[in-house]
Amino acid sequence: MAAPPRHATMLSISNGDKPAQAQPQTQQTTLPQSPGLRVPSNRKTIYDRHLNRSRNAESSRASFAFLFGEMVTYAQRRVTGIQDLEKRLNEQGYPLGLRLLDLLFYRSTSTSSSALSSSSTSSSPPNRPLRIITLLHLIHGPLWRLLFGRAADALEHSVSPDTPNEYMITDNDPLVNTYISVPREMSMLNCAAFVAGIIEGVCDGCGFETKVSAHNQPTDLWPSRTVFLVRFGDAVMEREKVLERSGVK
């Protein structure tokens, strides 16, 4: 399986399609129904559903566990090793992160009780994150709440001067790993690589080039404690310095 295309996808405009609708006469009429489109019998397309309809809905933990289990099994086919498996899980999560980002912002703008801004309950749309810290807070708080119903447990910055681009988000008991016991011969594997992929998608979507990986850091109290290591790219760090100098928050 080839790696799914990422952000830099360039799609050529298919030749059968009409070019840009710039002629003054043609653009007003609705497009002829393309033969491939099938509208449900109740005439309700996804555009007729409100995005907040399932805002407070929760899916069953058991069905999620089975679904995720099958995803892991699927990713496990024809893998060459643990790294390969983690990469595939990461790739499964990545597009999800890109989507969640838009949904997260839409939901926080369209409701009065803003889920994003922790400080005020203003209905004005939240800002796109420009700085690393704002982005990480967005992931640590709102994104985690959207996904798992609670905030992540810790957010740390690397203290080593060699790696100022490394941040860590800790989850004491990742939902995805609740029912998973990794066999001893694969002890390095952490299936939360899927969540790492989601984080990567969110960061990339915001314009922060990142590599995220999931690592096991069990403690006696939290046997499946997982640390997500977020490594920002050099370009991001450079921009961060520029933004800091110009006082952008």
Binding site: A62, A65, F66, F68, G69, E70, M71, V72, T73, Q76, Y179, I180, S181, V182, P183, R184, M186, C191, P223, S224
Partner: protein, 170 residues
């Protein structure tokens, strides 16, 4: 009301083919069998269980005295004249086995997996314990993508939660 008994001794899980897939003791100082003996025990129990199920006696089906029809020729065919006492309930086979030192409870799931729980004869609420163990099995074994069905159970989360729950109960 669990008294001051010694509670749950050990647990054995047998797959539907009669193979041992899980065996664990919960108390120290129990007399242990060798791995091979456990396999034999599981296979033997599986066979005995199947026999007990097939020798379940049937009783002659009682023809309800029908006052309307008084004809004497209403003898049903011989094959259907015997049935289980309660046809709606499937035949389970061996449910429990008791000695003066322990009690073995057998719980069979719909898919044919058998849970054998060895407890102190005085332990109460064994059904609840078995149900909980079944629940933990369904959660931490069946939802684990790395578990291959019908194969020996090696799930660290199952061990952990099972131990913690039994400890919390004692």
């Amino acid at each position: 009301m669990p008294s001051t008994d010694r509670g749950v001794f050990s647990l054995i899980i047998i797959n539907k083919a009669g193979g041992l897939i899980y065996q664990r003791e919960f108390q120290a100082g129990l007399h242990k069998l060798s791995t091979n003996d456990y396999l034999v025990l599981a296979g033997t129990f599986h066979g005995v269980h199947a026999i007990t199920r097939s020798i379940t006696p049937k009783i002659p089906s009682v023809q309800p005295p029908s006052p309307a029809t008084s004809s004497p020729s209403t003898t049903a065919p011989a094959a259907s004249s015997y049935s289980y006492p309660n046809p709606g309930v499937p035949v389970t086979g061996l449910d429990y086995l008791e000695t003066d030192k322990f009690r073995l409870t057998c719980f069979q799931t719909l898919t044919g997996t058998k849970f054998l729980l060895f407890t102190d004869p005085l332990t109460g609420n064994v059904d609840t314990i078995v149900q909980k163990i079944y629940e933990l099995y369904a959660d931490f074994v069946m939802k684990n993508p790395f578990y291959q069905i019908e194969m020996p159970v090696r799930c660290e989360a199952f061990d952990r939660h099972l131990g913690a729950w039994l400890r919390g109960r004692a």
